[in-house]
Symmetry: C3
């Protein structure tokens, strides 16, 4: 992306003071701006950087009045922060969807159909009888099994793997190395102490606007579907067991694990390195602190949990505080006993 300051000002409905023919190709913080960058000034705390930055252009609030001479072109807008964010998003969108066409060699099985404006990187593999939507970007080393559906505008980053029969919605992003539809961990103990594999024949369904982090693994259902509802955001290295269901707009931070058949509600916020036991049901709007271990179903909506094993965050923090004083508590108890014995 290379635009003139004038083009950007038009896009943002702002006015330029300075050289509006300068070309801008990247975005940066004002304290790190280099030639060719555009930056912004919103917080007055950063004003001093305006007079030293190497950035070619800076977006400022309409109300702003420079106190010293300014080198970069200035673009005056109503709200510099949200204008910059708008620019960021446009830039990101353009980069994300820039690639079009097929790099060779790429593999596609019989009966698979690809929508328009797609990209398939070299060494990408798409199996048989898949339906790939419009504007879908399949990066190098991506594996897509048989009978997979992928909705429009979805991006599958390098080396992500989607196994057979899975369904991926529209506007999803699957990050590098993620695995969707691996066989769940099901083994039936036998009388001789060995285990027999329980066949895992279901799939994974991702609805629209789902984000799956790098290295995250989502197991297919034993039968039926593991379901990740619309708008769910999963961070990196998360583990989702077979037959799990995660409700709309729930966010799960890195390295959390959810064991088989647990249902997480909508709009939950789950910290990093949390563990959920299997077969639980977690109410909508539950918040779970990092490293917590959730062993019981939660029925009441909107509560906050913490601890391993987890209970109400408020109570847990009180117990944690006393935990630090435990040696002191024990000493006080010793003394009381001595006193009382007298």
């Amino acid at each position: 992306m290379e635009l003139t300051v004038k083009q950007i000002a038009t896009l943002l409905e702002g006015e330029v003071v300075g050289n509006d023919l300068l070309k801008v190709s990247s975005l940066a913080k004002i304290e790190e701006g280099k030639q060719g960058d555009i930056s912004f000034l919103s917080n007055p705390k950063y004003e001093s950087f305006l007079y030293t930055t190497q950035a070619s252009a800076v977006i400022v609030n309409r109300s702003f009045q420079p106190q010293k001479p300014v080198a970069p072109a200035l673009i005056f807008v109503e709200n510099s922060y949200s204008a910059f964010t708008q620019l960021l998003e446009e830039y990101h969108r353009q980069i994300s969807f820039a690639r079009i066409g097929v790099e060779q060699p790429a593999y596609a099985g019989a009966g698979t159909q690809f929508g328009e404006r797609g990209y398939r990187g070299a060494f990408s593999y798409v199996g048989c009888n898949c339906q790939i939507g419009t504007n879908v970007k399949i990066y190098p080393h991506v594996y897509v099994g048989d009978n997979v559906q992928i909705g429009d505008n979805t991006i599958i980053q390098p080396g992500a793997r989607i196994l057979s029969n899975c369904q991926i919605g529209r506007n999803c992003v699957i990050h590098p190395g993620a695995v969707i539809g691996s066989e769940g961990f099901g083994f039936a103990p036998q009388t001789d102490g060995t285990y027999k594999t329980i066949p895992q024949l279901g799939n994974v369904i991702l609805e629209d606007y789902v984000n799956v982090g790098a290295g995250t693994t989502i197991d297919c259902a034993t039968m039926g579907s593991t379901v990740i509802r619309q708008g769910v955001k999963l961070d990196n290295l998360v583990q989702i067991g077979h037959n799990v269901e995660i409700g709309r707009d729930t966010v799960v931070a890195a390295q959390t694990g959810i064991a088989g058949s647990t249902k997480i509600g909508e709009r939950c916020i789950i910290g990093g390195q949390v563990g959920f036991a299997g077969h639980l049901s977690i109410a909508n709007g539950t918040k779970v602190g990092a490293q917590s271990g959730v062993g019981k179903s939660i029925k009441e909506e909107g509560i906050s949990l913490n601890g391993s094993t987890a209970f109400l965050m408020r109570d847990n923090m009180r117990s944690q505080a006393v935990f630090r004083r435990l040696p002191d508590l024990e000493r006080r108890l010793d003394e009381l006993e001595k006193k009382t014995e007298k």
Copy 2:
């Protein structure tokens, strides 16, 4: 797989009531059955679904008597649940081993030998001087280094990586993105505060019937072998350090980590997100609760541990229960002190 109801009935030694020429191609729960599916009814609680299911056939117990008209064909067998399980396993086996042949491009180094009925997916890489057994399935994007041995009937799922000199037994399943034989984490501190890499020259040995989950990493030994014994099942995103040994039929749930040189016994059951320190020895049949941290060797067989740091599960649960009451305990202690001072 497409079979008639009659063929399935023959396979299961059952009798058909209804149209035995219907074709069945998939398996489903009775409440989710669609045309072309076969399902089963075992628990009487689900009987009502029998009268509404869209499945083409349902396996029922010989003793069962329908109370209403039934649309699908019925297959009467001694035990409907175990007959369905048998069908599941057969179906799963057929799917797992269906692929035969080599998709192009696939890479194989000099001196490598492949057994019969194998599959190698496009973009799979097998190095030099490997011995690959009969009926081995190597999916796309699999990497196999040099001098690797893989036993008969083993399945290496897409993007799994087996580094040089490793030995994989028969009837193993290596799930997508797993890494076997990566260099262990060994660094010798130097006097200037930097670290020197300790060369890791050993390998990993997986015996027969081992399951390695998606994204799981198993480091090679410094010298000698990291050993995963027969029948061990490792879930997703598990970390196994260098020179670890895991005994027969031990099961390890997701996101657990085992530090270098620790020996885990046979038939242990390890929960998710557990951590083991290095150089421990854990007795046969030990059970470790999820999120526990094991810092000491366990000599007595068959005990259950919990907590971080872990101790006897029974005792840990008692301490956990008091932990919740800690603020109350402290308050009671405060009051006692006041009383006693008087």
Copy 3:
């Protein structure tokens, strides 16, 4: 690598007793030595193995005097342990850098330049406008995006992924399946309960001598850089959030997670499965025990932390000790109350 005993003795400045024409191709512990192996004897505890080992040669201390007849050739050196280590390192170095050339098919984008003595494995992908240094080894299934710089002598193991705009220093090792430069986990909550993706446009900078473990993920910065300083060693399945900075020679064990914008000091030692909250600043030389959860910045250098949530290791261990006695403490408190009521 195949050398005669004489060649090795010359390399180690030692003297041979026995057949110095024997050929040696591998290294082993003395108790596991086979024909063609070289081993060492340092600890007198292992002396008995010297008389039974199958190794072709054994390195011993100059001061050592065998008590019985010895089959293998002996190489006498000043310090047998450090001589063996020297041999290990040379062997490892030769194996690591042995591969040279390009296996086909390999993909390289326009404008990318490769240094001399490099290796690119089959199915490796390097994007456009990259600068790849001398003696860089890019294994099969490696993905390198656009505008990436990789310094001399760096090894990128199979299936590692380095996304666009990242900078990798010299003498780094990126282990299999690691992901460097994935988009950070940034989502802005909207008033309707959904989340909007915050574009992540920065990169990751790895300085020299950095080790990134198998399956480890390092997110790019939102803007600017996630920075991993010289000599940092990251174990397997570690998660590094966007805009994190890790100081020189810090070591991070497996499955630890560091949330966005946290700065870790130099020479820290971080255990396995540790979690750091975001936006913290951790002083140089901090030690953090396994499974700890660090929720606050640490200003004092060189302290040791433990627990979730973490506090001073010494204090935490005292509290942990009392935690085990909590049921007893509660009982004692009950009794005191009864006594006092009388």
